[in-house]
Amino acid sequence: MSQAPDYEDIPGTYVYDSRRGREGYALNMFCMSLNKAENRKQFKENEVVYLQGFRMTEEQRRAVLTRDWLGMLKVGGNIYYTIKIAFCDGLTFQDVAGMMAGVSKETYAQMMLAGGRSPEGNRSKRARKPETDRG
């Protein structure tokens, strides 16, 4: 077993690496199917039935059905794929980004207008912890 990759230290970030690639394949391939208008229509008509066509875990199904955007990333979702569900719902990328960040649409939009989220204090999980907690 290799060491945890260094990018795991970046807070609030789910890098779509081999681990997530193995876990999330079916979930993301369901999302991919929504590129076709006919499939979008079928998904909207009956989401539960539509999802039965994909070998997803119960957790993944639940995350999709409840539109738990952050939860989808935690069970192997890739944002470029899961965003297709949001497009189906008539949401924008910024709507979903705000929901993942856990703030209101207005608060998020305001943050972006003010120059975005600062990297200060957001670079490293380790650096966020007080000295005494380290190591």
Binding site: P5, G12, T13, I79, Y80, Q94, A101, M112, R117
Partner: protein
């Protein structure tokens, strides 16, 4: 012979395309961004290149996770506009340049860059938004396009250093093509942005400014940035900036920076645009 005359670095934020397609570019939100595009459009119209090589990434449009090519070249005579989940963008289909594209594919592979070859593929906002930004809304695109697609969706993307070397090989190949063609190369994506997780919305002006400076003055130093550095400093999706290195590698070591525009925000992203001219052509 064919020559690369200039490079264009350009973000490819989908919302920029949507704003153009819906005619909302004059709103208070979008106007400052689009105002900065006008000089680039004038420059490009005057340059009137024959071919554009566009280095971009597909976003789950032509390719799913089923097959993930690290470097791919499109050799078709036409590339249709992809449906990315909300219908295709209302922009013209993209005309290819099969003769030069096949020549590039053969030359690159024999030059030890193992390209995947696509005879047929739809193109998404990663390719069409930079065209819209730099050409406006013409009924047909004013030049032929050769798409070079780079994986940045499944970790790891190719390194910046590898992308730079691919650019150098692209240049060698272009210069071996016996038809007189004036070629521009686009490196697209970036700049700082994070579209996912609790850290969504990250923007790093300082990093972006230094990156733009480095692109002009010391591109080789920039190729040493690791993926983790990109993701930490410029957001998880900021790693797309490795694609700029392909463009930069295809240019002279010493270039003239003709134009630069930087604006925050375009949706979740810092939008950058930069034009670099080859001095050997001037």
């Amino acid at each position: 012979m064919a020559r690369i005359v200039a490079g264009i670095a350009c973000s490819h934020v989908p919302a920029i395309g949507v704003a153009m397609d819906r005619g909302t570019t004059k709103t208070a939100y979008w106007e400052p961004l689009f105002k900065g595009y006008a000089p680039a459009r004038e420059w490009l119209a005057k340059l009137a290149p024959d071919v554009a090589i566009v280095v971009y990434n597909d976003h789950a449009s032509a390719f799913s996770l089923q097959i993930i090519p690290t470097f791919l070249i499109g050799v078709a005579d036409e590339f249709l506009i992809a449906d990315e989940g909300f219908g295709p963008r209302p922009v013209p289909a993209v005309k290819g340049h099969p003769a030069l594209a096949w020549h590039l594919a053969e030359s690159l592979i024999l030059d030890e860059f193992d390209m995947t070859i696509a005879n047929e593929m739809p193109v998404d906002h990663g390719l069409t938004v930079p065209l819209s930004i730099t050409c406006g809304q013409p009924p047909v695109w004013p030049f032929a396009v050769i798409p070079i697609c780079v994986n940045v969706v499944q970790y790891p993307p190719p390194t910046g250093a590898r992308c730079y070397k691919l650019g150098q090989a692209v240049r060698r190949a272009v210069e071996k093509f016996d038809q007189d063609l004036r070629v521009v190369i686009y490196g697209t994506g970036g700049m700082s942005h994070q579209l996912q997780g609790e850290r969504a919305g990250l923007i790093n002006r300082e990093f972006d400014g230094a990156f733009l400076d480095g692109m002009t003055k010391d591109p080789v130093a920039l190729t040493k940035l690791t993926h983790t550095e990109y993701m930490r400093e410029a957001g998880s999706e900021g790693v797309e900036m490795v694609m700029w290195h392909v463009m930069r590698g295809a240019l002279d070591a010493e270039v003239t920076e003709v134009y630069r525009h930087y604006h925050v925000p375009a949706s979740n992203t810092a939008a950058g645009l930069m034009i670099l001219e080859n001095r050997s052509i001037a």
